[in-house]
């Protein structure tokens, strides 16, 4: 059914259609509207049978999900930013135990300085946790990815994060097609666990493993994600057949067939990038876009195939490997090993810094001429940075960096665009 609705509300409805049995909720912006929506549905009886548990921390949220999933219940939670970091130990534990929990990450920056706005630092910090990570470009895709995620997670008995940009998607009202219960039931069978806590057949889950078997257990986690590389496109194709639209998959290309220059990105910024590319195409530029939906597992072959006929690429990412450069860019470079393609990185949109078409036009223009440094910090205020660096050279007690920045820049939050 078509609806004009908020991204979080749409996701809450999609989750409910997946018939979760245990939902753990702990408030952190910008995911709160999702669990609020689900809480209301459980309270009213609209979503039943389902236990909605208000926990005391994100660490508890993931831990309750671990217990529920191990006991055979379809389990869901949502988090973001500091919350994801607070539950990090349990995040690794859930995948180590092979529990197919689905979690929405409403992507948000990590402090300090504390910042509630969108970038991808949070889920990318859990890159090696053993969770799969699927990035939604639109709210429709966020809805659809959750439905596919439960199916994939339970098939492989491994957990999945569905990542959607905080505020940009979670709080945006747009048209979303919410599927029917019959459609979802037909696509997503009931949860049949590979392992379950049951007094009738008692097993020990979570035993201590030493050097004699630890590598094998870890390799099997890797093997699961390699299986997911095969299954993700198949599940997307099945989804298209059942629901009538393209959603999910490993990667998505846009105008790449004859492109000499390709922009690579994840999440909602792909919309702005495509708009920019449309305008450049009209002006005769051979430029295209590669969206990465599946960040983990990382589709090395598919990325390589999409880039192989181009001349250069730029990874535009909302994350920063401090002391090194790009996080996604490193993976992309791995994918094009030996091709001789010229690769560039742009760090953009950290902490919610708007990524505007004007900035992208300028960036892509320089990229086509290969006039970019290996790593570009898009729209960085060099004056403010240099002023602070100079201050630190001059004064030992130069004070808190964030406060200095705010003081130097003044009130300019509304001046982007």
């Amino acid at each position: 059914m078509l609806k004009q609705t908020e991204g979080s509300k749409a996701v809450a409805e999609a989750i409910a259609l997946c018939r979760p049995e245990v939902i753990c909720a702990y408030p952190i912006s910008p995911q709160t509207h999702i669990v609020e929506g689900l809480g209301e549905m459980v309270k009213s009886g609209e979503l039943a049978p389902c236990e909605f548990i208000n926990v005391e921390s994100e660490f508890a949220a993931m831990s309750v999900a671990i217990g529920a999933s191990a006991a055979g219940a379809r389990s869901y939670t949502a988090t973001a930013s500091q919350g994801l970091l607070f539950m990090a130990e349990a995040v690794y534990n859930a995948s180590g135990l092979g529990l197919p929990i689905v979690m929405t990450v409403a992507n948000r920056a990590i402090g300090a300085p504390i910042n509630i706005w969108n970038d991808h630092s949070d889920s990318l910090s859990q890159r090696d946790s053993g969770w799969m990570q699927l990035f939604a470009e639109t709210n429709q895709e966020a809805v659809d990815l959750h439905i596919q995620a439960f199916r994939l997670a339970e098939e492989l008995s491994m957990p999945i994060m569905v990542c959607m940009d905080g505020f940009i998607l979670t709080h945006a009202f747009e048209r979303v097609d919410i599927p029917s219960q019959q459609q979802v039931d037909a696509y997503l069978p009931p949860f049949e666990p590979r392992q379950v806590l049951d007094p009738a057949q008692p097993v020990s889950i979570g035993a201590m493993v030493g050097p004699e078997a630890f590598m094998e257990v870890r390799y099997l986690a890797h093997a699961k994600q390699m299986q997911a590389i095969e299954r993700i496109p198949q599940l997307a194709a099945e989804f298209k057949q059942a629901f009538g639209r393209d959603s999910g998959g490993l990667v998505r290309t846009y105008c790449t067939e004859d492109a000499e220059t390709i922009i690579i990105a994840m999440g909602s910024v792909l919309g702005t990038i495509k708009d920019t590319v449309d305008e450049m195409r009209l002006a005769g530029h051979k430029i295209g876009v590669l969206g990465i939906i599946s960040y983990r597992p990382f589709p090395l072959e598919q990325v390589r195939a999409a880039l192989i006929n181009s001349k250069r690429f730029l990874v535009l990412e909302k994350s920063l490997a401090v002391g090194m450069g790009g996080i996604v860019a490193t993976d992309v470079r791995m994918a094009v090993t030996g091709t001789g393609l010229k690769g560039f990185t742009a760090i953009a949109g950290l902490g919610g810094r708007p990524i505007t078409k004007a900035s992208l036009h300028k960036l892509f223009g320089q990229l086509e001429k290969e006039e970019l440094p290996p790593v570009t910090f898009l729209d960085l205020d060099w004056d403010a940075v240099n002023k602070q660096l100079e201050r630190e050279r001059q004064t030992r007690r130069s004070g808190p960096v964030a406060e200095n920045m705010l003081h130097d820049k003044g009130i300019i939050s509304a001046k982007f665009g």
Binding site: I53, S57, A70, N93, G206
Partner: protein, 372 residues
Amino acid sequence: MGFQPVKFYQTGTFTVGNRLLAADERSVQAGQTRSNSINSGHRACQGCGEALGARYAIDAAMAESNGQLIAVNATGCLEVFSTPYPESSWQVAWIHSLFGNAPAVATGVAAAMKVKGRTEVRVVAQGGDGSTTDIGFGCLSGMFERNDDVLYICYDNEAYMNTGVQRSSATPPAARTATTMPVGSEPGNVFGQGKNLPEIAMAHGIPYVATATVADLRDLEYKVRRAMKMHGARYIHLFVPCPLGWGTASSDTIRMARLAKESGMFPVFEAEHGEVTGVLKIRHKVPVEEYLKPQKRFAHLFGTHARPDMVARIQAIADRNIRKYGLLNGHEIDDPADDETCHARFPHLNPLPEGEEANESLREFHVNEGVN
């Protein structure tokens, strides 16, 4: 000869391992249907109080739930010595997740059982004092506050034994640990205000809180069974001496637990909805020295550089416990034969016939030799 009269000494006692009592008077552990939840072959140290306590507690919980039990375990000695891959001592559905999340994992298991309508399945979570009083404290408080249907059992050996005897917030004052060495002017652990988990649990107003020691396993079984008859969040704090960490003889585990209780260092009581409903009285009051001296972790309080001042401060703690919980009330006894409290402690047992004291021990059993 058809019958031969045989006299079994102690056969009339309620000794926890007595298998010669009538079936309904036996402890769970002395019963034929005990579940052996944590089976032999695990790798606990000789004389481990925690292994003993867990065995009795989980078997009692299994008995009360008719075998419909799921156990959640925090990281710690119990987890490590019971499940070195690929072996497991557990003959009960069992999960270990992390050091600090056992209460929350148990909440999840209970929620799953509820949503699936499997109301007969009960959930026990267990961890050591480090897990319970320190790293898992937040999750435990959350589980209490929500009154989730979980019995949490803390096995308190008063330090992080698994990692090599470091101080926890349950470590007593003056005790030597690897991180509170007996050096300087205030040797051993600090004299802080403590962190009384049973009282903190009571402050949550949960249905049931109890303390117990491995010196009184009948009492432990009774409290576990009592807790398992209830629903909601329940907490049992079990005192389990650790020969390795305390520097005591492995044959002294029970004695140390008894001395902790008899000295007033560890009050044994139960409480419902935040109110104390019963205490185990001190039977033979002993000064704290008697409890402290056999333990090498307190050796620096005695001998050539004795610290009677610190012993006195510990005695003051015991005295405060005794006052606070009414552990004496003039009922302490000198002669075990006078113990009339025994029945009160085991209300699940049938009363003995009029005039027959529990501990007047000779009963005659006839052994039928000639008939199969």
